[in-house]
Amino acid sequence: MHEIKIAEDLSVIVLETAKKENLSKITKVNITFGQLIQIVPDIFRFAFDEAVKNSVAQEAELTIEVIPVMMKCINCGNDFQVVENRFSCNVCNSTDLEIIHGKELFIKSIEGE
């Protein structure tokens, strides 16, 4: 249920932004999750709605984009998408890897008026 804590942290950032930018209403929140974060979108949505109840963001529309896990091979430089949890280079088999995508927890944009 890490969705709840993450949704709360998101709501704090959203409300801080509303205040800083003098917005009376937040209309849209667009976020990106890496697949490794294992967020269940429905739980996250529910938790976010709870967190922004009775605030300027209570009607905000939340869009969640999930991006797949991408690694770079340190041995041969190959970039590849991880399928079925296979964390080894699909060219040279090396397990010396660097993560490129998959652990994101980004706010892409916050829209309001």
Partner: protein
């Protein structure tokens, strides 16, 4: 783009720097409920408390039962009750670090809340994560919770004494584990019967000694 967990990450970095400056190794222990984290700590205290100055942070949802089990070793223990929360975060760790005399500590074990997903998403500022899995839970854990096994430096496969009563396939487990993390270390142990613990003690001793004997950095 702003990272939602920036707040947690910044605090974790602070904790990591503080512990590094005091040469304290911090191990974030993550498992399902009942895999054997507290039993592992009992065995580890018995074997190493005379050699190293050990401290423990117990993440517990509502009670202090695990802390009570460790009292007999006369080590500093702090309980963090998460009040229903399913994981510890760096802010709660940072707050309780004040209760430890860091200059007189070699290693700090953190028993995270029993859960395989949530704790692996929150950096506490640990030196490394240790995953504990028991044979009674089945061999599918790596494939189901890749983030934990990707992040952990070592995994302790506990309750090896029970393997003959389960359908746990050791070969499949190790194969899946290595597929996710080719560098992870695996220790097969029984924290109640004692199998494999010597190897674990030796390894953790090396980790602690390595850190505490590092020369001071000069700038």
């Amino acid at each position: 783009m702003k990272n939602i967990l920036d707040r947690n990450q910044n605090k974790a970095n602070e904790v990591r720097n503080l512990l590094a400056s005091r040469k304290v190794l911090m191990v974030n222990i993550i498992s399902s409920p009942g895999a054997g984290k507290t039993t592992l700590l009992e065995r580890t205290c018995e074997a190493l408390a005379s050699k190293f100055r050990i401290g423990v942070i117990e993440g517990d949802v509502t009670t202090d039962r695990d802390a009570q089990r460790l009292k007999k070793y006369n080590i500093p223990i702090v309980v963090i009750n998460t009040e229903g929360g399913c994981h510890l975060d760096s802010h709660s760790i940072s707050k309780v670090l004040d209760s430890f005399d860091l200059d007189n500590l070699d290693v700090l074990f953190v028993e995270n809340v029993g859960n395989l997903i949530c704790p692996s998403q929150f950096d506490l500022g640990e030196t490394f994560k240790l995953a504990v899995v028991s044979t009674a839970e089945g061999d599918d854990k790596p494939d189901k919770y890749p983030m934990l096994f990707r992040e952990a430096k070592a995994v302790l496969l506990n309750k090896i004494d029970l393997i003959q009563y389960t359908n746990f396939n050791h070969e499949n487990f190790t194969r899946d584990l290595k597929k996710i993390n080719g560098k992870i270390l695996q220790f097969d142990v029984s924290c109640t019967r004692g199998d494999g613990l010597e190897e674990w003690f030796k390894w953790i001793t090396d980790q602690i000694s390595h850190l505490t004997s590092e020369p001071e950095a000069y700038f």
